[in-house]
Symmetry: C2
């Protein structure tokens, strides 16, 4: 097939754009208290959102990055709350370690059980996920109800995630769900406030898989 049309192509390449972007972010971000590894995650999130306020609102459990890197290297699954998070995550980097991304929200049995128990599919998806993804990374970018359910399951001793990335966005329950997450003493990455979303959740997971490749323990 021939799509070209004789015009001068735009020659700036994605790699070039990315490295220039990261320079700008570092420069404009200014002083902070994040560790070097944490800041790698912060930078990717700012890169995905162009939002420094969101970047500065991030909070990390002290073991968060280490736990995320370990989960990936051990080939633990990543659980995405919605399909947008699943498709955005870099799969080849995870597959090198035998890790994959699972999403349960569209499973027929989840829909059925949600109806039967009169709860959201997001909640039921978490109940299924914790049974199948012990030690995995739970990446929640959309549904506060999913995050609240996951927190409940952790407290009840029914879930043992390796890391929770809790970055749902929204005006109802999102900020509250993240406050609850930040009270847990298990590895988490979250933020203060309403902002978040699928793209920044993807950015966090992708930052961790890059760190898994790069960081020498």
């Amino acid at each position: 097939m021939e799509f070209s049309s004789g015009f001068k192509p735009i020659t700036i390449q994605p790699q070039e754009i990315e490295s220039k972007s990261f320079e700008i972010i570092k420069e404009e971000f200014g002083a902070h208290d994040f560790s070097e590894a944490e800041f790698t995650v912060v930078q990717r999130i700012v890169h995905a959102s162009a939002d420094f306020e969101l970047g500065r609102s991030l909070i990390f459990h002290p073991q968060a990055v280490e736990a995320g890197v370990r989960a990936i290297r051990q080939g633990r699954p990543v659980v995405a709350d919605v399909q947008m998070v699943q498709v955005g995550i870099n799969k080849p980097r995870l597959e090198k370690y035998g890790s994959q991304v699972n999403v349960y929200i569209s499973d027929p049995d989840v829909a059925e059980e949600a109806k039967r128990h009169n709860v959201t599919r997001a909640i039921m998806a978490m109940r299924k996920a914790v049974k199948e993804a012990e030690g995995g990374i739970f990446a929640i970018g959309n549904a506060p109800t999913a995050l609240l359910e996951l927190i409940r399951l952790v407290k009840a001793g029914e879930a043992k995630p390796g890391l929770i990335i809790g970055l749902p966005v929204g005006f109802v329950s999102a900020a509250e769900s993240k406050e609850e997450l930040a009270k847990l003493d298990i590895p988490y990455i979250t933020n203060i406030g309403r902002k978040g979303g699928s793209t920044v959740t993807v950015a966090a997971v992708n930052a961790l898989s890059l760190l898994a490749e790069q960081v020498v323990e």
Copy 2:
């Protein structure tokens, strides 16, 4: 399957959360110059980002909403620049009108041609898209190079989109590409600045398909 565990379920339902969120957004947004239909799109974008600054930075070509609604009702395709945009878009609402969402960036022929011409896959995907999606809605949330190429093709008379939703996010070329879009005299929805992304682009398309269902002409 039985995922339930005897705990009190969280009973707030997605519909309830959504309508409460829209009330909050309307209240906090304050005075603005958007038309009623435009504000429906703005509200969905703020809902997806929790970012009023982003909402206020949106700009609409005077015919934008009308053109988007018409394209959907006529069953024109929606072209997404990346898979995250594709999966986020509400399909059943488009399918009622015979419209669907196409994404070209992962097509093997696009990859091949991009390599041969030494341009990004995002650019080559647009060259393929304009041949297959005349009159459609081009929804670009990720790649500024895709938007710049689409603008070039419009100027060259090689592309006739029904509506361009140009909301790429980023630090290099994103803001510039949107400035260029806003100079065109064809229907567009875009914003000023670096912010944007897949989730807000999805929100714009979903707002238009809701309007297609609701608005009486």
